[in-house]
Amino acid sequence: MARLQIEGAVKSFGSTRAVDRVDLDVADGEFAVLLGPSGCGKTTLLRLVAGLEQLEQGRILLGGRDVSQAAPADRDVAMVFQRYALYPNMTVFENIAFGLRARKIGKSEVAQRVERVAAALEISQLLGRRPGTLSGGQRQRVALARAISREPKLFLMDEPLSSLDTKLRSTMRAELKRLHHRLGATVLYVTHDQVEAMTMGSKVAVLRDGRTVQVGSPSDIYHRPADDFVASFVGSPPMNLLDGTVVRAEPGMVVVGVGSASLTLCGTDWSGTASGMGVRIGVRPEDLRLGPPHDSRHRLLGDCTVEVSEPMGHETVLHVNLGGDSLVVRTSSDGLPEYGEKVPLAIDPARVHLFDVSTGVAVGAATEGSVLSPVGAAR
């Protein structure tokens, strides 16, 4: 296993810059996830690391060695492809052994490795079968077995669970995590699914238009999004964003007008704000609550109208309208209001994020002690 360092990586296709000066440091044994929407450059970055695409600028170091110009075979990385990329004309055994034989590993060693890795992934009974006769989940295991059998320095995974159904995906997520703990492998994992990123990665890099927007732990990404793109991309349902204006900015405190109310937000640093500045106020669906506030944290925001209800069983996601703004509220499934019903909506002001409306960049997050005042109180 080895540390992966990507420094100033650049790659263009024609006039489109797919990867734009990306830096990323993945520690030895770390599970790093590249997260972003389609076309954000995450797969291109993965292919640059694999050597399947050539870097234009920057460099890639693996275990301290510059592999930027090395052929894919000389990088000692293994890749699990989105559509498995198993050889249909070979049995499962041959699929796993093919790469090992190419590396001139002895016949008995090849057989041992294949059997060992097949046993670990519980596919020993499938070794004589061809990929065409296997289910999606079984093929995925074979693809993983092929990568693991190589014992590479780095595993690259390109949306390996995207072709599986929801139930199998959740099982395989847990299995991949277990496998990572057992192997202690360095993994670079590409996905557009934020659930995969949050549950599997020890480090998440969010990409947009070929650039890294934020790199951090899943908790950082979720609780301290660097901008409104990360805020709305990570989290399901996504963060609510409302437009507002800074009424007053002081060190350690900022007052923001939103709709008919104003928020007095406490925080350590609001230096990015100024009076009259347009801001976007972000609040997670779980930090909103229906009904009159019955604890010290929540404050009444106003009356909203229920537009759509999405019952999930363990919880319900409600789409409500508050003075023309659509908001999403995550709530328990008990005693829900009916469609069209008007209900009070409460907010936890200490969990509010502020973003600069012109750049989208976060200008601070509220902390304990933040309050919400009724109409005109702060003006």
Partner: protein, 309 residues
């Protein structure tokens, strides 16, 4: 729960149809179904009659060759034709003895097999390069190759002869393989097939350290089995019956194939129809045998269908 339609009473549903059946005449639904079935039967009957006529048209020349080869000499040219032969096996016996058939068959077999191997190897290699390797002028080269398909073979006969002569390959087996050792149609077929392979297979191989020729021989070509079968069958059919080129460049029995050997019976003293028919039947046998096993693939090949075989 069972739902029964009024127009189809259950008691009439399983009865075989008979014309004039009183029950079905009474029931509009049943008579309609019976009418459809009758039309289907008539359609099938007409189709089989037509197929039989067409099959007879194709089989008749073979039967006629059998008749000619075993009939009396005087009856070969009679009108109306003599369709029931008198089974005189002497002409075939003579034809078999008078020429070294084993040598001719061996020559044809070597030429055909060598051509098949050569066309497969060159077709796969060139198809692979044109489909998967990046190089300058690739598309132009492919267009030039396709344009070569439009050149009639007669136009290249003299240049081919000159080159073959200069290479010292006249009257050799190699001289009959060389001009057809690579085939644009085979290259095109392999190229098209390789283009349909998922790029991730080659990428997975690259990461595994698999060389391109190992990938080609172990993954790409085995997966291109329909193309391999098509090229093999078409090359076999054309080389086994090749006549013009071998006739031009061969003399004697050293390198002559069976097809050319047949022309031995067309001498200065006229055509020996009975012998030539008998010998033609013998040379046709391998093609008939291959056809009986592989007719499904041959039909697909000729139809240009390279789907799953």
């Amino acid at each position: 729960m069972t739902i029964t339609r009024r127009s189809e009473p259950t008691e009439g549903r399983h009865r075989p149809y008979t014309i004039g059946d009183a029950a079905s005449d009474r029931l509009p639904g049943s008579s309609f179904a019976a009418g459809t079935r009758l039309r289907a039967h008539v359609g099938t009957g007409v189709r089989y009659i037509l197929l039989t006529v067409v099959a007879a048209m194709f089989l008749f020349p073979i039967y006629w060759a059998v008749v000619v080869s075993v009939d009396h000499r005087s009856q070969v040219f009679t009108l109306p034709p003599h369709l029931v032969p008198s089974f005189d096996l002497n002409p075939i016996r003579r034809a078999l003895v008078v020429l070294p058939w084993a040598k001719y068959f061996l020559n044809t077999t070597i030429i055909t097999l060598a051509t098949i191997v050569s066309v497969l190897v060159t077709g796969a290699l060139a198809g692979y390069s044109l489909a998967l390797r990046e190089f300058r002028g690739r598309e132009v080269l492919f267009a030039v190759l396709l344009a070569a398909l439009m050149v009639p073979p007669e136009a290249t006969l003299i240049p081919d002869y000159v080159i073959t002569a200069r290479l010292g390959l006249l009257n050799t087996l190699a001289g009959q393989v060389a001009p057809v050792a690579a085939n644009v149609y085979a290259i095109f077929l392999f190229r098209q097939f390789f283009k349909t392979l998922p790029p991730s297979l080659w990428e997975a191989s690259q990461l595994d350290g698999v060389s391109w020729y190992r990938y080609l021989s172990r993954v790409a070509v085995p997966m291109a089995r329909p193309a391999v079968v098509t090229v093999t069958l078409l090359t076999f059919a054309s080389q086994w019956s090749a006549f013009e080129w071998p006739l031009i460049i061969t003399q004697g029995s050293r390198a002559r194939p069976v097809e050319v050997a047949l022309s031995f019976f067309q001498g200065f003293d006229g055509t020996h129809w009975r012998e030539i028919s008998g010998a033609a039947l013998i040379t046709m046998l391998p093609i008939l045998i291959v056809f009986s096993f592989a007719h499904k693939y041959i039909v697909k090949s000729v139809a240009g269908d390279t789907g799953d075989t």
